[in-house]
């Protein structure tokens, strides 16, 4: 595996950790603000999941195989 694919692998691994870490908006802990009928922390979660979908689709198109397919 070349240095370049290894680096890409780490970047994607970091993105995966970040996506997991902020799916729950910990910085809004104990916040109860309601916007448009739903708590604001729920809006964050919905937006974050859509972001995750975009990241996953970019990953699937451009980096699929990283860390698994050996040359």
């Amino acid at each position: 595996m070349s240095a370049r694919t290894t680096r890409a692998g780490w970047v994607w691994a970091g993105s995966a950790v970040l996506l997991s870490a902020l799916a729950v908006p910990w910085f809004l802990w104990r916040d109860g603000t309601v916007v448009a009928g739903l708590p604001i922390w729920l809006w964050w979660h919905i937006g974050w999941m859509l972001l995750a979908a975009v990241v996953f689709s970019v990953f699937a198109r451009r980096a699929w195989g990283v860390g698994i397919e050996e040359a």
Partner: protein, 509 residues
């Protein structure tokens, strides 16, 4: 009473349609194991996505989740979102794609075969199958319990619990016996689409009757102000993370989910599915669990041992609609259960029955006499779990969590074995046996019961949590540490061959 007849008619009709699809699929099924269990590895994007999704959708998500949101607040959406939308999607790639390549290269049908071949161990293969079938039991029971409750709730007790639970048992036995993976997957797809649609109709109907989302949420703010503030009560950060992590990893080791890692038609199918996970999860869980939360604000009464979703629909929509939703939920339980039983049957015949009859190395692919063994196994298993469902204590979420966490103990040793050539047979065996033992002793309070038996009082017990983290997480860590540490200190035995897991991606073409 006429409402009850109408409702039961709708439920029965729905289940019969599902059965019809199974019969149709049966006519297209060859009598080979690969076709019966894996539909000859030919699933496309939509079918693979929905068959996995509908399998995830069970009494646990459809009744248990809203119940939890009703009693403790909507944070359960976050737990399920992180679990199924993000962690499971990542594992879909890390475990799923790797397993798909490895399975395609070597022709595996079960997780036990995959590990048994790599480590040259029939014991490991049989052990994985036995552990999996053990944890499958509470989860099948959960579906039967959910179905029994659903029918009781729908008919206000006119039809007793055992009829609902027994009815679904009968249906799933029939279904598995005739349909195979193709029929299961087709009904899953129909049900997945149906559920997704129906939950939005339900939310729309209830909200328009209750004056809109803002009014309904205001009512929650007035009656349960704690619900809208993130965290608090049951929801500690450690508990939320523990639950999401242990269930996400557990899901991947469920026989029916793990086996789906072997069934995609092409790499493209797996790729397309990945990005759809978080979207589907939001589309389904946000409305379903908010319905439970809003029900609390609207003052909906839920009978003891009942479920909030039918209760809120009963109060705000029409009886026929409640029946349609309950039918959908029962169908979801059925599709979860029949997938489980089908996969459990393949574990039983291939990883336990074959080795026990001295045919561990059999490569012949005809179902033959094994089909009879599989069917007897399914009937015995489903009947036992039905009887247990009549007596088992615990809520749907508790029972589900126990099963998921039991499976989760398998995930890390398997991951290590898939990616690290240095894993030895002794290492993975220690990791799997150690974590299972720990989790079983912890969950069923074995120490407390033993000491009660010996000296008449429960003198010792494992901790109920570890600085807020659940025993499931502690067990997973233990499994990881044991697998790695024992592997480092032992050498490979005869018959171990890490090269079977080396894949280039060319297998995909």
């Amino acid at each position: 009473m006429s409402d009850t007849v109408l409702q039961l008619g709708i439920v029965t009709a729905y289940l019969l349609v599902a059965l019809g699809v199974g019969v149709f699929a049966y006519r297209l099924t060859d009598r080979t194991a690969e076709d019966y269990y894996l539909a000859s590895r030919t699933f496309g994007t939509v079918v693979l996505l929905f068959t996995t999704f509908a399998t995830l959708l069970s009494a646990f998500t459809f009744f248990g989740g809203p119940n939890l949101a009703y009693s403790a607040g909507p944070e359960w959406i976050l737990v399920m979102g992180l679990m199924d939308g993000i962690l499971f999607a990542i594992l879909w790639y890390v475990l799923g794609y790797k397993q798909w390549l490895v399975g395609r290269k070597n022709g595996y049908v079960t997780l036990g075969e995959m590990l048994g071949d790599r480590f040259g161990s029939t014991w490991l293969r049989g052990g994985i199958a036995a552990i999996s079938i053990f944890w499958l039991f509470p989860y099948v029971m959960l579906q039967q319990k959910g179905a029994g409750q659903a029918i009781v709730g729908l008919t206000d007790g006119a039809v007793p619990f055992w009829v609902g639970a027994g009815g679904i048992t009968l249906f799933m036995i029939l279904y598995v016996a005739i349909a195979g993976m193709r029929g299961v997957a087709w009904t899953d797809t129909i049900q997945g689409v149906f559920m997704l649609g129906i939950v939005w109709v339900a939310v729309g109907w209830v909200l328009s009757a209750a004056g809109g989302a803002t009014a309904a949420t205001d009512a929650v703010a007035a009656s349960n102000p704690e619900f809208l503030r993130l965290g608090g009560g049951l929801y500690s950060p450690q508990w939320m993370l523990s639950t999401a992590i242990s269930i996400a990893f557990g899901v991947t080791m469920f026989p029916q989910i793990n086996q789906r890692f072997f069934v995609a038609r092409s790499k493209r199918v797996l790729k397309r599915t990945l990005a759809l996970w978080p979207v589907l999860v939001v589309l389904l869980f946000v409305p379903a669990f908010m319905l439970g939360t809003w029900a609390a604000g609207l003052g909906v009464e839920v009978p003891a041992d009942g479920n909030v979703v039918p209760a809120v629909l009963e109060a705000y929509t029409a009886p026929w609609f409640t029946a349609v939703v309950v039918a959908g939920a029962m169908a979801a339980m059925m599709s979860s259960s029949d997938s489980m039983l089908l996969s459990g049957a393949s574990y039983l015949t291939r990883d336990l029955y074959r080795p026990l009859t001295g045919r561990a190395a059999a490569v012949d692919d005809t179902l033959g006499g094994e089909a009879t063994v599989a069917r007897i196994g399914v009937v015995v298993f489903a009947s036992l779990s039905f009887v247990a469902s009549l007596y088992a204590p615990g809520t749907l979420v508790q029972i589900g969590d126990t099963a998921f966490s039991g499976f989760a103990q398998l995930a890390l040793p398997v991951l290590v074995a898939l990616y690290w050539d240095g894993t030895t047979k002794r290492g993975i065996s220690a990791g799997i046996a150690g974590s299972q033992l720990f989790y079983i002793v912890s969950t069923f309070d074995v120490l407390g019961r033993l000491s009660n038996l010996l000296i008449g009082r429960p003198a010792v017990a494992l901790p109920a949590d570890y600085a807020g983290w659940t025993p499931a997480i502690a067990g997973m860590l233990l499994g990881l540490v044991l697998t790695v540490a024992v592997s480092v200190r032992t050498t490979k035995s005869v018959g171990e061959d890490p090269s079977v897991y080396a894949v280039s991606g060319a297998e995909a073409d």
